[in-house]
Symmetry: C2
Amino acid sequence: MTDLTAALSAADAQFDESLERLFGLLRIPSISTDPAFAADCRRAGQWLVDELIGLGFDASLRDTPGHPMVVAHHDGATPDAPHFLFYGHYDVQPVDPLELWTSPPFEPEIKEIAPGRKAITGRGAADDKGQLMTFVEACRAWKAASGSLPCRITILFEGEEESGSPSLKPFLKANAEELTAECALVCDTGMWDTETPAISVGLRGLVGEEVTIHAADRDLHSGLFGGAAANPLQILSKILADLHDETGRVTLEGFYDGVEHTPAQVLESWNNLGKTAESFLGEVGLSVPAGEKGRSVLELTWARPTAEINGMWGGYTGEGFKTVIAAQAAAKVSFRLVGKQDPDQIRAAFRAHVEARLPEDCSASFSPHGGSPAIQLPFDSPMVTKARNALTDEWPKPAVMIGMGGSIPIVGDFQNILGLQSVLCGFGLTDDRIHSPNEKYDLTSFSKGIRSWVRILQALSKP
Amino acid sequence: MTDLTAALSAADAQFDESLERLFGLLRIPSISTDPAFAADCRRAGQWLVDELIGLGFDASLRDTPGHPMVVAHHDGATPDAPHFLFYGHYDVQPVDPLELWTSPPFEPEIKEIAPGRKAITGRGAADDKGQLMTFVEACRAWKAASGSLPCRITILFEGEEESGSPSLKPFLKANAEELTAECALVCDTGMWDTETPAISVGLRGLVGEEVTIHAADRDLHSGLFGGAAANPLQILSKILADLHDETGRVTLEGFYDGVEHTPAQVLESWNNLGKTAESFLGEVGLSVPAGEKGRSVLELTWARPTAEINGMWGGYTGEGFKTVIAAQAAAKVSFRLVGKQDPDQIRAAFRAHVEARLPEDCSASFSPHGGSPAIQLPFDSPMVTKARNALTDEWPKPAVMIGMGGSIPIVGDFQNILGLQSVLCGFGLTDDRIHSPNEKYDLTSFSKGIRSWVRILQALSKP
């Protein structure tokens, strides 16, 4: 029996316990954006520290001005083994609207979601607790099979990924020497489909912005003032409606500066994946591509920038009716960035767009919520090739290189602060409902995810 | 001492107790739109029944499918005295946002709001508890001075005015014989300014509508789906932004059908009132007239129709940021009507406007919130002239005939169901903050309001 075979067998043998451990982590409501859950975030971090110490890591909880980091080191089997930095995050998204969950978000269960297809349900199952635990459990399998790990590993688990990572950059800067390695491994991305693993090589950036329109100094009766007084909901609707033109393009001044034309051969390779608008959108009950006209859904979500309204509120929103003209109205807006689009320039262009549409007697206030440029990773570095081959060995179909609609700012920070390239490999699926009610992680994503990391660790340990 | 002088003296002598009684009513949180306050609504109605029985009325609480009506009769001093129906409402608006109140909404106080100017504060102080109590206390003054009332009086107090009056029409129809009189007196309107009383002769109608846009079958991650999936907040923003053109006109098909040109002499009389955009809007921190361009603020609020967004919500609206594309978004929209605009036609035009702007894979649902046409009352009926002269006797400046931005559907119902004209006479002021935090009613509105009704009752009792 080779080391690899033994480690894979160990992963299979311990799988029921792996699942129990993941459930333990999923039961902790570590919602980072809501201050009410700060103690739970800390508890989730400490839970991971304890697990890692049990695996022979030198692990500790590191305080930050926000939620703590988990940092852990393992020397590996030989002193000259290659050294990797693994990243995941233990915090999760809020759970509202709670009434749409079919079982409580922090009481994980195994459910049959289709004939022969089971999934782990609960907030964080896929984003990112289930994913980071694939790596932890792969380390455990290697430890069980060989007594050590085939590589030197440093682990960094963050607790603020879902709330803009305010402490991350300062922490990387302050601990650059301790965190450096040959390459970073990040497990927060998805597969192409249930049979096809993927390595993500393009990540859209993100600019988040909250805007509040201020009109009268109090809420007004629409009978007394309607027709004469400025209505901030009307002004905000116009501002937001004007973000797109009739072809779906974003209208902000200079918005497309730095957006590169996607090469024809890349578009062709994506077209060959056979993903139609109907199949992509059909999973969520839609069928017509929104956004820029004349582009495939893969290009729209992997290679094109967007402007989205993520939340909006103002006036009376309770039961019944209230004929009020609100004093203010607000929206949370975000922009997905590609190529060399500059987050600061786009934030400024949005603010100018708002200001240009304000009546003289109204005002706007803004608060920024994170900004990170897009990232393009190599298609063909040695690390990527090794990981790709290891994935192909595990899954029914060969691994593919894909773009990614979401943003993982950590990849840019690793590049800029630690000088590290990243390999992005994860086992999420598009129907995981991350950030939504009834989040799930396929049982196969978890079991074969663990086995994938067992294989990747061995592949990367070779010169 | 004449009867009138005696009754006015009695009103003055009892004023401190009048105030105590009003405070008692204001302490009952009779919010009709929120089912949680149903028992309080009933309690407010019963409080009024008890007061009226104490004044010699034959008064009772009448159940409806919603909140109960208060109905009371008093025969007056002589069997052939003219007979009037007085209307007010004991329910109040919700109080949110509660944090903007400087004192609790249901703990009324007397505050000095400007040098020498005092006001009664609390939800309902002006709309409509303070107003209806001016009439109740005027009856009490007549009773104290002369032992009876100079007219026959029927009183109808409603408990659903702020929630669309669902029970009112059926109740009027079922009790038409009992409620009929020579003319209705309604106290739910305002003065021109602190020195100038007013009788309102034009009332805008109202159509309320709630619309919900449905897109994906779940909330989506904007990274995975942004740029490809329909965003209901974006669709709704566009729908609402499109309600007005660049000149401020409402764009709904056929919206201006039945809107009459305001006669030049009426516009001129309004211009002579000297109300500028600056003085009208300045009271609420604004300065630029919104809505249709090139019209005075009085014309805009008294004689022109509007479309207003009264509330809007969707997506993530909590602390922090969530990069979600919502499954649905909703708004409460209302239209103020004038002339012969047809509420049903306007509701249908709005729904068509929404449907025409929906992507194929999205849908809209609607729920109606009341609809009533505009009403034009006579400028010069004998009743109006008597009331006008009585007001002029009480206040520093002569009474004026004004339009009104708000809608009081009861006036149309009295006309259509009971065959009664109404005289609209109230003592509210534009800075009363009705429907807003820190609602107030000037102490003078209350004291001279009582004295005004003492005078009007006598004027109306004469042939």
